[in-house]
């Protein structure tokens, strides 16, 4: 399913378009912007690109352990389910803004959900 999803959504070009919209939404969302407020914006944008590539079922090879390690410092700063939900909400809204079909957005949601426990260190 995953490789297919990535292609259906439009591959690398779609990821680039989505990163621009998604990261702007996230930085403007007061519920979560603090977690994304890296001083180095280009560095952050690269991370968002990796995240979206993964959410689109594309070629990124994160393991659950990578996810845990990568977010542990945010969990100590209070990252919880409500923040995770807010990120997914912003991702869904970004994809809607880019006219991605609803059934593909639902598939993206499923991929995101598989990372919840690792991201939140549960």
């Amino acid at each position: 399913m995953s490789a297919n999803l990535y292609e259906k959504i439009g591959g690398d070009a779609a990821v680039n378009a989505a990163v621009d919209v998604f990261y702007r939404r996230v930085l403007s969302d007061e519920r979560i912007s603090d977690f994304f407020d890296d001083v180095d914006m280009e560095h952050q944008a690269a991370k968002q690109k990796a995240f979206l590539t993964m959410a689109f079922g594309g070629p990124v090879h994160y393991t659950g352990a990578d996810m845990r390690k990568g977010h542990a410092h945010l969990v100590t700063r209070g990252l919880n389910d409500s923040h995770f939900d807010a990120v997914v909400e912003n991702l869904v809204a970004s994809l809607q803004a880019l006219n991605v079909p609803a059934e593909l957005i639902a598939e993206v949601g499923v991929v995101c959900e598989t990372t919840r426990n690792d991201v939140l260190g549960k």
């Binding site: 990163v19 621009d20 990261y23 702007r24 930085l27 403007s28 001083v39 180095d40 914006m41 280009e42 944008a45």
Partner: protein, 323 residues
């Protein structure tokens, strides 16, 4: 931990250590300057394609394909065999043609470099005081000008900028690198509005970019916000005002952030004044040069105001305190 081989000699590179740090720790003479993967002074070549891509960010594709990389941001993932470039082949010789005071702290340096014909206005060169001391300076000239032009600000106790201010004189010969950097005008969208924000000598590349755009008949609006702490820090004010007379699409807003009593200038920091005047930046192209804190926060503000990440060009004048 990786092994580095240079001229048949092996060096250890510890975990979390860059190639530059490993080599300089072992006494290998490597020219470097910014330590931030920007100035490309410490570029070297690996014998195989085992270079982390983050160490090639910003290098020309032809150099990337030949496994060139920047040692200051290279954390090796495996053993590497490395060739150090020969500076004698790489550096260009230039003659100082003019040294002129632009304001109390900033001098304009003219350089004649016949072997350098092609560059983009807004790129920067690395100027060598000697083999160990190199600093980046942006080009304020455009390629059709007879000479290269730099704006050098004297930094308190700064080594190279004080040498330039105190010692460099017309007729001196200096070594410079070929131009680097990606903060320049691309003539593909002549109608696009441009917003340029610079502090201090951050005006240098912006001056080149604006003249380049106008030479390419850019007809979208071009807004320049140049900021300084006080009035004496502004420069080229008359020249820029003059340009607004000749080009109706060029707008110049000098800004003064300390107490400002002169109504020819806007009160406030250049970026604050600019973002109040232009709250919606979707479709704009943005250029940010000078103070690194300004560049970081203006980049974010421009992006949040709707500018695409790829439409934001910046040169942060990072100062490396680690020497």
């Amino acid at each position: 931990m990786a092994q580095l081989t240079v001229n048949q000699v092996r060096y250890q590179c510890n975990a979390d250590e860059t190639v530059l740090d490993a080599l300089t720790r072992s006494g290998v003479a490597v020219p470097y300057s910014c330590r931030n993967g920007i100035c490309q002074t410490c570029v070297m070549q690996s014998s195989s394609a085992n270079v982390p891509i983050t160490a090639q960010n910003g290098l020309k594709p032809t150099l990337q394909a030949q496994n060139y990389f920047m040692a200051c941001v290279c954390y090796p993932t495996e053993d590497m065999t490395i060739t150090l470039p020969d500076n004698a082949d790489r550096l260009l010789s230039a003659t100082v043609t003019a040294v002129r005071q632009l304001n109390d702290d900033i001098k304009c340096v003219g350089l004649d470099c016949p072997s350098l014909q092609n560059y983009h206005a807004g790129q920067f060169i690395n100027l060598y005081q000697d083999n160990d001391n190199t600093r980046s300076y942006s080009l304020a000239s455009v390629p059709t000008d007879p000479y290269l032009r730099l704006h050098v600000r004297r930094m308190p106790d700064g080594r190279v900028s004080n040498w330039i201010h105190n010692e460099l004189k017309v007729g001196d010969r200096v070594q410079i690198s070929a131009p680097v950097g990606a903060c320049f005008y691309v003539p593909d969208t002549p109608q696009q509005p441009l917003l340029l924000i610079g502090t201090g000598s951050g005006l240098a590349p912006l001056m080149g970019i604006i003249r380049d755009a106008l030479n390419h008949r850019h007809f979208g609006d071009i807004y320049l916000y140049h900021g300084s702490h006080d009035v004496t820090g502004l420069y080229l004010v008359n020249e820029l005002c003059e340009m607004t007379v000749h080009y109706s699409n060029f707008h110049y807003v000098p800004c003064v952030s300390s107490t400002n009593i002169d109504n020819r200038y806007q009160a406030g920091r250049a970026m604050d004044v600019a973002f109040v005047a232009h709250p919606h930046l979707a479709g704009w192209r943005i250029f940010l040069c000078g103070n690194p804190n300004m560049v970081t926060s203006a980049r974010k503000k421009a992006y949040l105001a709707g500018a695409k990440m790829n439409d934001i060009y910046a040169d942060a004048y990072l100062i490396n305190h680690k020497r």
